[in-house]
């Protein structure tokens, strides 16, 4: 799948950039643009207790994931077998609400509660979205969980999913280890 001789085509960031202090200082645009998800785009720093609001947000997210059975292995099988509308309804309506929200934020230039302008970064296409996407699709159907539900399932009491989470961390590490040899 990954011809090793392509490694020379993957741009390697100069060493000083690889040692950059923070993600925002990291000028290796390839690394940065491939991973603008789940990122802190704020330039401000706050006392640690300000992070508690993300604990609250995560709490609601986890509650919804379990109560709507989005984390259920059965619901995921039904989705991929086209036997139920439930998951399509969840993801579809989430995207509609998310898209309207982002359109409003952009149109009215809403700022964060700290007064910062809200920043958006475009996603750059990479063949990884196809190859990695297919591999993740396999894993999603096998475990019945994407990364959010991995955490939620552990919380809901199916503790053996700790092993899946550990495997997923190992998978992430192996990706980082061999990414220069993968086509992007």
């Amino acid at each position: 799948m990954a011809p090793l001789n392509q490694s020379s085509q993957v741009p390697q960031a100069p060493k000083e950039y690889r040692q950059a202090k923070s993600m925002s200082d990291n000028l290796d645009f390839e690394v940065r643009s491939l991973d603008t998800m789940g990122m802190n785009e704020s330039q401000l720093s706050h006392p640690a207790w300000h992070l508690l609001k993300y604990l609250a947000m995560g709490f609601i997210f986890g509650l919804v994931l379990v109560k709507a059975e989005v984390v259920s292995w059965y619901r995921i099988q039904e989705m991929f077998r086209f036997e139920s509308f439930h998951m399509y309804g969840v993801i579809g309506s989430a995207v509609v609400v998310g898209a309207i929200s982002i359109a409003l934020i952009k149109k009215f230039k809403w700022r964060t509660i700290y007064g910062e302008p809200v920043r958006f970064y475009p996603k750059k296409f990479s063949i990884g979205q196809v190859l990695g996407g297919l591999l993740f699709g396999f894993g999603w159907a096998m475990t019945g969980a994407c990364p959010g539900p991995l955490y939620a399932l552990i919380g809901s009491g199916i503790t053996v999913i700790v092993v899946s989470l550990f495997s997923a961390i190992v998978g992430t590490w192996v990706y980082g280890w061999m990414r220069q040899h993968l086509p992007h």
């Binding site: 990122m39 099988q77 979205q129 959010g148 998978g171």
Partner: protein, 187 residues
């Protein structure tokens, strides 16, 4: 009210609540919804091993790790205080196919015949729990995001690469669930 909360929530309640996570995180502090990134932060924190991909200040992204701690706690409350007292309602076709492999759905969100410690070292459970988990971690990072990062955040921001990624998630899942998993389940 409590009775209603204990029932499984319909998609038209859950979907919009999940969608509202996107503006909530943006407006609370310029955070983009994404969860698979936490796996990378854990690697960067625990074993960066001089790999350039893990050389960044993961502490700046600690909000992401706090967020998933919240997911864990929310799930805990949902599965205890707000637990659904009834068995899962599952499509009859899936019930029939699973019964052929000695899997009988009950109250649990995932079949105990596969997802339990006692079954971990059987061939089918090992493949689904360990190999499946590895593919989730490797694939999401290679794709640059997961269901939350690409399918919710990326699509909401009208990013076409996220649409490509989402279609590939679905394509991979479709092949696995319909053509490969039946073989694994029969092991």
């Amino acid at each position: 009210m409590l009775q209603f909360l204990r029932e499984p929530w319909p998609w038209w309640v859950a979907g919009p609540l999940i969608g509202l996570m996107v503006p909530a995180l943006l407006l609370l502090g310029n955070k983009t919804l994404g969860i698979s990134s936490t796996l990378r932060h854990i690697c960067a924190a625990v074993l960066p091993a001089r790999i350039s991909y893990f050389q960044y200040d993961w502490k700046k992204e600690s909000w992401n790790l706090i967020f998933v701690c919240g997911i864990l706690l929310g799930a805990m409350v949902a599965a205890t205080g707000l637990a659904n007292p009834n068995n899962m309602v599952i499509s009859p076709q899936l019930v029939t196919d699973l019964a052929a492999n000695n899997i009988h759905p009950a109250k649990a969100l995932a079949p105990a015949e596969i997802f339990s410690w006692s079954q971990l070292f059987t061939m089918r459970s090992f493949l689904m729990i360990v190999v499946g988990g590895f593919l989730v971690g490797f694939g999401t990072r290679y794709a640059g995001g997961c269901t939350s990062g690409h399918s919710i955040m990326g699509l909401s921001n009208l990013q076409w690469p996220s649409l490509v990624a989402t279609l590939c998630f679905m394509g991979g899942g479709w092949v696995m669930a319909n053509y490969i998993l039946p073989v694994i389940l029969a092991l």
